[in-house]
Subunit: 422 residues, 2 copies
């Protein structure tokens, strides 16, 4: 599913014990302790039964077959994962022709645009928030309630909430007889895509969520049972080089990764940017690019700018069943481009990825690669869990709490004060 | 148009001469020397007459009134600027109902999707490349030529090229009797949006390109004639703190800035990531965010991660003429969100920006702000030239060539070899 390689060895020549078995064993034990502590519940998600999801789908089958729009009201961890997986899989023919939209901006231009032609009759509105108290989500939720009168008895089935067990939003849903599917409170937003937060919308769109979990469980099994150590090694390399390489670039070759990139940026940035147990500012800065287009944007900086970056190449072996070919056309004066004639675009993109990688390696930038066989539910589930595990591992080495986000509370407090005092 | 503020003073207390008049005067002289050297032609663009653009528009008026699609085949500097400006202005009522698309990915999934329902009859294809030898652009161009048989005599008017004077693509266009508008060779891709590269497509979409240039010329006038020094000071602060703050975050409050952010990332990264005259790796790393949504993604890292970032807040005073309000709804158990009831989303977004800024300033992160009165041609032209001037100024201080990109040539060479040897 995922083939993993890296060039780290050349950076460790002066430190041959860096990946010594004792180090890796000790590190692995720490991950095990964290998993067993239930500090985060995400470790268990690949193996969950998800009865509540299937129960909702079954009870509402006729209604769900009738809708042509899903609008998710949710922000950050409540939207990024679903958006990422849908973009990776939406070229598949079994994806239903349902239009998926996200209401997350408090920007009036975009709210107006997103809701322009929406009628409640063929729409399911899904409100996703751990508490129901996220200011963007609740404001947009209220707007939707008013605009479409969704609390009228016969319209309530157009509304679904996904929230923490016993949260204020759950209690409100029960009291209003609105459908609600819950997740465990120890599943943080950015680690929640393999819970109902992601799986329920994805199932409604027609994806095989069991296969997504299957892919994730394989990666989990490889890590915890087979003790494959590539995630540990990558985490060690990145965490121990925090000062040398404070920036981690994810260079994804295909535009279908655009939203996956955004999911990665949140996962990496918000999980790892923390005060450690000694109150030191720690963290690694994520940057996410799309190839080949960002070869014309950011590549120059990687090649000749400060040597403060590692780069991960993410690519797909077979992007498309039906290849598209560059025609064998010769244009006078432009013959120097003819060397790609009769190549498939897939092949061109693959070779662009390889060429860029080689040129970056030649500049002594640490590089690793994730090659996906082909995009399907299983490989995408594997990719998601791979990144979640990697993030946890780096967090353990940085001695931080990977799962909280205390730094964003301050701005929320100031916002509330501005309203109360004005 | 643009109101500029910053918190740099508090970082310069130990260095009161940092912004001394002599320093600024010397620096200004260097910018003047660069402008006069014609190393880059972008400095002159705000004052250009653009006869070729108006001539093309006039001769093809009937045809242009008949089309409903514009597809730009171009990558990097040939697409990012136009995309950015259109996204900033497309909510205006005088923007024609023409669908604008960009063919730039060599990704077969996206090519297929983008061209799904395209018919040549109501489409203008614009090929933009300085030389015509950009591999992505030429491959996609050949694909379009074959798919829509655009070289048939009666179909040629559906094709337009924008390219360097006397480039291979220009010569080919002439020989095929295809319309072509040229730009000066000393206008690099990422500095070209105020040339025909951006202005011609934008004019076709119905924008007032004279007003865009007017905005740019005002900023140029303030810098060169009125000798306002805020751009110089910002450049000095950022360039002299290259090691302390290697990362510059642009935090743009409104989703309409999404493509402007991408334009900024290219401009900053590709211009400034260079070997300097002593062969040292120099540069500043751009990161671009959207508020409020990235408060739920990247903000935590700025607040508590390594102190290696400066942050620029970009926001709009009045986003929308017709305000949208958060309804006065009280939901049981969720009353703690009621403090925003009856506020406009515009006001909420504005206060979110201010609150986030205050919380970041409290963490001693250097912050500056660009406040735009309202989004229109003139203010957007001003914003573009402001960033271009800032980039030039930083480049001068880093002692690099801001306008070339030698680092990306290596990967292109490897790509060509892979084809020739396989």
């Amino acid at each position: 599913m995922l083939t993993l390689t890296n060039t780290y060895a050349r950076f460790l020549q002066k430190n041959p014990n860096f990946f010594a078995k004792e180090n890796l064993d000790l590190f692995f034990q720490k991950v095990l302790v964290e998993r067993n502590s239930q500090l985060s519940g995400y470790y268990d998600l690949p193996f969950a039964k998800n009865e509540a999801i299937f129960d909702y789908l079954q009870r509402n089958k006729t209604f769900l077959d009738s809708i042509s729009n899903v609008i998710i009201i949710g922000i950050g961890g409540s939207s990024l994962g679903t958006k990422a997986i849908d973009a990776l899989l939406s070229h598949q023919s079994h994806r239903k022709k349902i239009k998926l939209r996200f209401l997350e901006h408090t920007d009036p231009i975009i709210i107006r645009k997103d809701l322009q032609r929406v009628k409640y009759e063929d729409t399911l509105f899904i409100v996703i928030s751990k508490s129901g108290l996220t200011i963007e989500t609740t404001s947009l939720f209220k707007y939707i309630l008013a605009r479409f009168s969704l609390l009228k008895k016969e319209r309530k089935k157009h509304l679904l909430t996904i929230t923490d067990e016993n949260s204020p939003l759950f209690k409100w849903s029960k009291s209003e007889e609105i459908e609600s599917v819950t997740i465990k409170p120890n599943i943080g937003g950015r680690f929640s895509v393999l819970s109902a937060v992601g799986l329920l919308p994805l199932a409604i769109l027609g994806y095989d969520i069991a296969a997504i979990l299957k892919g994730a469980s394989i990666v989990s099994h490889r890590f915890f049972e087979e003790r494959k150590d590539n995630v540990l090694k990558k985490a060690l390399f990145l965490a121990r080089n925090e000062s040398n390489y404070p920036i981690n670039v994810l260079f994804s070759y295909s535009s279908v990764f655009r939203h996956f990139n955004a999911w990665y940026v949140q996962l990496w940035g918000e999980s790892l940017g923390k005060l450690d147990m000694y109150e030191q500012r720690r963290g690694l800065t994520p940057i996410a690019l799309i190839g080949s287009i960002d070869q014309h944007s950011f590549l120059q900086l990687i090649m000749q700018g400060p040597a403060n970056k590692t780069v991960t190449f993410l690519s797909v072996k077979n992007l498309s069943q039906k290849p598209l070919y560059i025609p064998n056309i010769r244009l006078q004066g432009l013959e120097s481009t003819d060397f790609v004639n009769q190549t498939s675009f897939n092949q061109l993109l693959k070779l662009q990825c390889i060429s860029t990688k080689e040129s970056i390696i030649s500049q002594n930038v640490p590089v690793d690669s994730i090659l996906i066989d082909s995009l399907n539910e299983q490989s995408v589930g594997a990719l998601v869990l791979y990144y979640e595990l990697l993030t946890s591992c780096v967090g353990i080495l940085l001695q931080i709490d990977t799962y909280n986000q205390p730094g964003v509370e301050f701005g929320k407090k100031i916002l509330r004060e501005k309203f109360t005092h004005s």
